[in-house]
């Protein structure tokens, strides 16, 4: 069976008249139907850009340089190469998106009813009464107690958690195949975070919706996802099931990320942090590994030649020269070699 979303060799460049540099490079992601997939990475790792590329919402200066984003629903479409009109039919109906800031993601001048039903009006042909009923049902499903009242409310009358629930309702009302959630809980209180994540899981199971979760929070990934891709400086450095990434991280960056989480056991120890900062795109090395400058295990080779994605074990890819040293590297595919 074809995966629902198949991103192959996606590269995004920053392009103006004067400058042209690469930001996201060689991203490969496969998401099956009903799968919960996570992308984790620090700010500036390119995870949000990847999600915007799927939605065809990249800012004007950013262009998809290479690669394909194949969406398999009723028909097969390449979202990297689709007309604007076609794309508008995909948005909200086949793929929808939840944003980070529930405070600003709703238009302050319209009621919840108007905004919730706007999606339906665009993509479906229901009568007004039917639409209202669907809207109220959807609000009930996302756990809003007085849906008839909330329909009449304006965004400023709702709390952050309520707004994020409304956003989820809006995203799922057309029953899309894929829901992209870009840091959906970052702006919320910790107590609300868990509720919202549970709600998203529950509803995606109910509606058979796959989730692409974009986050910097490994806890969120652990709680919701089945597979995860770790991104660093615009590249996927490690990809596997959540269990494998958490139990046997292979890439030095993933190891660093995991050891920088505070756990209750070792209170006295100083919290580990990866030295240095995420490089900005103009600092990316032409050759070699993009993580080499911060990597505790960096070798000469790391600065001269880019490592490939190696299969370190069954269903577990990692992009590091160490695996060759260790002798457990099976090249995934040699055709993507470029140096």
């Amino acid at each position: 069976m074809k995966p629902l979303l198949n991103i192959e060799n996606l590269s995004i460049n920053y392009m103006t008249n004067k400058k042209d540099f690469n930001i996201v490079k060689d991203v490969n992601i496969k998401i099956d139907e009903r799968m919960k997939y996570g992308i984790v990475g620090e700010s500036g790792s390119g995870k949000s850009l990847t999600s915007l590329a799927i939605m065809n919402l990249l800012p004007e200066v950013l262009k998809i340089q290479e690669g394909s984003i194949e969406l398999n629903t009723d028909s097969t479409k390449d979202l990297a190469n689709i007309s604007k009109k076609e794309m508008r039919k995909v948005r909200g109906r086949e793929i929808s998106m939840i944003f980070q800031e529930p405070m600003t993601a709703l238009d302050p001048l319209y009621t919840i009813e108007y905004q919730l039903l706007e999606v339906l009006k665009i993509h479906k042909t229901y009568s007004k009464k039917e639409m209202y009923k669907i809207g109220v049902d959807m609000l009930k499903k996302v756990g809003i107690a007085r849906p008839d009242q909330v329909m009449k409310d304006y965004p400023h009358q709702l709390s952050g958690g309520m707004r994020q629930r409304v956003m989820i309702a809006m995203a799922l009302i057309c029953q899309p195949k894929l829901l992209i959630a870009d840091e959906p809980t970052t702006a919320l209180d910790v107590t609300i975070q868990a509720q919202i994540l549970d709600l998203m899981n529950e509803l995606s199971d109910l509606h058979n919706t796959a989730i692409l979760m974009i986050t910097h929070d490994l806890g969120v990934i652990l709680e919701t996802c089945e597979r995860v891709a770790v991104m660093y400086a615009g590249q996927i450095v490690e990809e596997s099931t959540v269990e494998k990434i958490f139990e046997e991280p292979a890439h030095p960056y993933t190891k660093g990320l995991l050891s920088s989480i505070r756990s209750l056991g070792n209170k006295s120890e100083e919290l580990y942090s990866i030295p240095g900062n995420v490089p900005t795109p103009d600092q990316y090395q032409e050759l070699g590994c993009r993580f080499a400058t911060r990597c505790p295990y960096a070798m000469d080779q790391c600065f001269n030649q880019e490592p490939l994605m190696y299969q370190v074990q069954d269903d577990h890819l990692s992009k590091c020269w160490l695996h060759v040293e260790e002798g457990r590297a099976n090249e995934r595919s040699s055709e993507r070699t470029r140096s």
């Binding site: 939605m55 919402l57 004007e60 508008r88 039919k89 995909v90 948005r91 909200g92 109906r93 929808s96 998106m97 944003f99 980070q100 800031e101 600003t104 993601a105 709703l106 238009d107 302050p108 001048l109 706007e118 999606v119 665009i122 993509h123 956003m167 809006m170």
Partner: protein, 276 residues
């Protein structure tokens, strides 16, 4: 909306401006009922008479009642103000929306043209346009409208660029709303606050510009009453008949003062930062 009206009433300064403007509007609308005489009736025995019970504000060099002429002049001032600002505001809104939303080359072209307009002083640009079109009331309104367009274009453009960054615009795109509908439904309503404030401020500017152009003899043509025309006529007699220049001048100053007060107060009231 209710809250907004309440706050405007609470704001004494703004209320004063609003009442002043309503008064002028009322005068203009009811001019034939309020004015004791026709604006062009000449009382040849009463040339350049000072204020009296018969002629409240005195008479001018042709013996016309200045009070009546000021009331009829309010019609001209308001008409010019509204239509000229309407032309400028609507033109600026359309250009600004296109410029701010689509950016890129369209934006460059529109803004460079606007920059050229900006480079000329208001009056000089208006004079040039009128010189090309010919002096009459309609052309005055068109000229003032064109002069005011760049200000609106810039204001709308920058407001659009701010609003566009909000996630609810990205969200509207993400649910598949067409760009034209995003502009109409989600961007335009959200930039109305600064736009309305600019309209009230531009109204006073337009009235002043009309007076200035009429004073220079390029706006409203005599014998039609316009406050600017009246100033121009009174110029020669102001030393021994000061009322001929005093009352039209006061009318201009008070009207503009009221518009500015209302504009300032609206700016505060509509500022989202000050909303609770």
């Amino acid at each position: 909306m209710k809250v907004f009206v309440q706050r405007l009433i609470d704001d004494k300064v703004g209320l004063f401006g609003l009442i002043g403007i309503l008064l002028v509007v009322l005068l203009a609308l009811l001019a034939p009922l309020i004015a004791p005489y026709k604006p062009d009736t000449m009382f040849t025995e009463h040339v350049l008479e000072g204020p009296s019970s018969q002629f409240l504000f005195g008479t001018d060099e042709f013996g016309r009642d200045i009070f009546s002429r000021i009331i009829y002049g309010a019609q001209v001032s308001l008409q010019v103000g509204l239509i000229a600002v309407g032309i400028g505001a609507i033109g600026g809104l359309i250009l600004g929306l296109i410029s701010g939303y689509f950016q890129g080359k369209v934006d460059q072209v529109i803004m460079r043209v606007m920059d050229v307009f900006f480079a000329f002083p208001d009056i000089l640009l208006a004079l040039t346009i009128i010189a090309v079109l010919g002096p009459n009331l309609t052309n005055t309104m068109i000229a003032i409208g064109i002069v005011f367009m760049p200000v609106f274009t810039r204001l709308v453009r920058s407001a659009v660029m701010t609003v566009k960054e909000n996630e609810y615009i990205t969200n509207a795109q993400a649910i598949g709303v067409r760009p034209s509908l995003i502009i109409v439904r989600h961007i335009t309503p959200n930039i109305m606050a600064p736009f309305i404030v600019q309209i009230t401020l531009a109204l006073s500017g337009a009235i002043l510009t009309e007076a200035a152009l009429s004073f220079l003899g390029l706006g409203v043509q005599p014998p039609n009453p316009s406050w600017g025309v009246m100033l121009n006529d009174a110029r020669t007699y102001m030393e021994f008949a000061p009322w001929t220049i005093l009352f039209p001048a006061v009318a201009i100053v008070m009207t503009i003062f009221c518009f500015n007060l209302l504009g300032d107060s609206l700016r505060d009231l509509l500022d989202p930062k000050l909303k609770q």
